[in-house]
Symmetry: C2
Subunit: 384 residues, 2 copies
């Protein structure tokens, strides 16, 4: 109770985490302006601009559904709108968020066909192809483009081809890949693309978005689960057209903030944004290896979103994250669920500079070094 | 496409609407600070402070559940967590949000016992008592404390007594009454109290809160509807205790903003806050009558949240709201659903000063006058 962060005029630790990510001052400034009324022409303009900017990034002309919630609720909305209990659903899972798809699909009564991997593995399109060959009744595939718990970004185009060949709908969690890694939603044939505001879109958490293909909307019309807040058709009804509105009071300040963030992305140029993510990934991996630590995420340019790092024997990742936060003034991500303790995650997505990555890896090195020093004697005492 | 509100350095129209409401500069300033990581000690401190501040206002020691969504999703969560399809549920409905309870309860298969009124009527506890006497199987009552579509604030204490006497759970939508009108959650015996960030709590939309009694949590344990994002027990599991966290990445900037707003409420003192709402209501009603318009909401101190005003014959409320927005630079609320066209709503909840109310009523007078002038010739032409 002694922190009183509101009274502390200093900056909080720098965010070099896989999300929430840092928000640019230009975006913070827009969100600090007086609130717009959600039924006003000014706010409708903001909604239009956000929709256009998101479609540009997604390379999509599909309707964009905006929801005031996090990416998890958007994932749930896909299952709730598409699900007919008992229907087969293939789920590619190689980490915490892949397993969330499994949990959601089982919760709503789907007959789940898991295409499962060890956490941290890179899923192979051939395995999905095989699963769909064995279970031709499966009409929907759920997967995670960028598995935020491991740093693995799968080959989305190849997975989309497999799903399309089998005539299945493809639902993609692109929460941490969107605006960091190229996605061609319409050209590849993705049916449902999900993202949220607080990763590479450089805006605080609280908004989620779905791009919905005609086939996805048709399937949703046949879904039998009751739903209200997450109902696609009813939410979309007011959001399309030249004069969009939301059904409920949306998070207006996050919408106007995102409008500004999208301008920054447009100004930098999408190609430059994607190149920057690749180059920050390279820089991060090189720096991590330089300080003698081992990568958990792949050591190649697919790992453009974040870098996961294994902890040395005897060093707990939670202690490292805490030490970096308190002493190094850098916030990074701990391992999720069963990876907690053994890996840390450095995010280089969104509003991140080379200096942020350097600072994070430096702080990581110091924290691991000082915790290794204290952990070793303890280990030998226990064994001696 | 010519508005470009982001490039416009002037202030948007003043918000004197029933929500979203104006956000104080002190709150905007906090939200413009660098983002906190949601798994950090600083953010856990913010969560604790928000929880404590909300409990103080609700006069409650019940656990507070924070969700990143709007009040509607929090309402849906009550039905989803409590519902066993086919069970009887009494719903008091005298406006748009009361009817939302009916719609939600029917959607999830409840056997709805409506206690229904014309929109704008003041519900009577005796009617609920009678309904519960006729249907002793009803175990849950849903109602709206402050019906934001009409301006009616019902006698919540009296309704709570009726529900308690019948041994029913009471679920209260207090979205627009919370922090504007006194509520004694625990002492009165409310089981589920729902509110959100963007009314009298003076923070932008995007957060909702539920106070949950032990009986409500027990009933939720027996609820049979599948749910994930809105599941009370799983969300609450990480939010209780001295070191609270949220299950998912919450809207961190709104949480820290709310922390500041709660400080402002604490500084002013709850009694002073409630008195201010009553006195702004009086001022607004007097001013409306002064310009010769007729009240739609009650002409007494119960109408402390907002004032609904009937439009004169031949004047469309939507035109009035538009004219006030564009010419008077004041944003107020249009009528909702079937009241659209015939009433406007001036919000005097949250961060509102006497000058704001005066300005809104002045702009209302001008808009009605100028629209009456244009509408009358048109009327006589049509009739002539």
């Amino acid at each position: 109770m002694t922190l009183r962060h509101l009274d502390n005029p200093s900056f909080p630790p720098a965010l070099v985490a896989p999300g929430p990510t840092q928000v640019p001052p230009e975006v913070l400034e827009v969100m600090a302006r007086p609130i717009l009324h959600h039924r006003s022409s000014l706010f409708r303009e903001a909604l239009r601009a956000v929709r256009d900017g998101l479609q540009e990034i997604a390379q999509s002309e599909y309707p964009v559904l905006l929801l005031t919630c996090t990416g998890t609720a958007a994932m749930e909305s896909a299952v709730v709108n598409l699900a007919r209990p008992g229907a087969g659903a293939a789920v590619v899972a190689a980490g915490y968020f892949g397993e969330r798809w499994v949990e959601l699909a089982e919760l709503y009564g789907l007959d789940v066909v898991p295409v499962r991997y060890d956490w941290g593995a890179v899923p192979s399109p051939a395995d999905l192809e095989e699963a769909l060959r064995r279970r031709p009744d499966v009409r929907t595939v759920y997967l995670v483009h960028s598995e935020t718990s491991t740093g693995v970004v799968l080959d989305l185009k190849a997975f989309t081809e497999v799903a399309k060949s089998a005539g299945a709908l493809l639902v993609v969690d692109a929460v941490s890949s969107f605006a960091a890694v190229p996605i061609e939603t319409d050209a590849w044939g993705i049916d449902v693309l999900i993202t949220s505001s607080h990763k590479a879109l450089m805006t605080p958490p609280g908004l989620a978005f779905l791009f919905l293909s005609p086939a996805a909307l048709e399937a949703a019309g046949e879904g039998s689960q009751p739903r209200f807040y997450l109902d696609w058709a009813r939410n979309l009804a007011t959001q399309v057209g030249t004069d969009p509105e939301t059904w409920f009071s949306p998070a207006v300040s996050l919408v106007t903030g995102l409008e500004q963030a999208l301008r920054m992305i447009e100004r930098e140029g999408l190609d430059a944004v994607y190149s920057r993510h690749i180059s920050l990934g390279r820089r991060c991996r090189a720096a991590v290896k330089q300080i003698g630590l081992e990568l958990f995420s792949p050591d190649d340019d697919s790992a453009a979103v974040m870098t996961a790092v294994r902890m040395p024997e005897g060093v707990d990742s939670s202690d490292v994250v805490q030490a970096m936060h308190d002493d190094g003034r850098v916030a990074i991500g701990d391992g999720e669920a069963k990876l907690k303790g053994s890996i840390v995650r450095i995010g280089h997505l969104g509003y991140v500079a080379e200096a942020d990555v350097d600072r994070a890896v430096r702080a990581l090195g110091s924290a691991v070094e000082s915790l290794s020093a204290t952990s070793k004697p303890r280990l030998s005492t226990g064994m001696g």
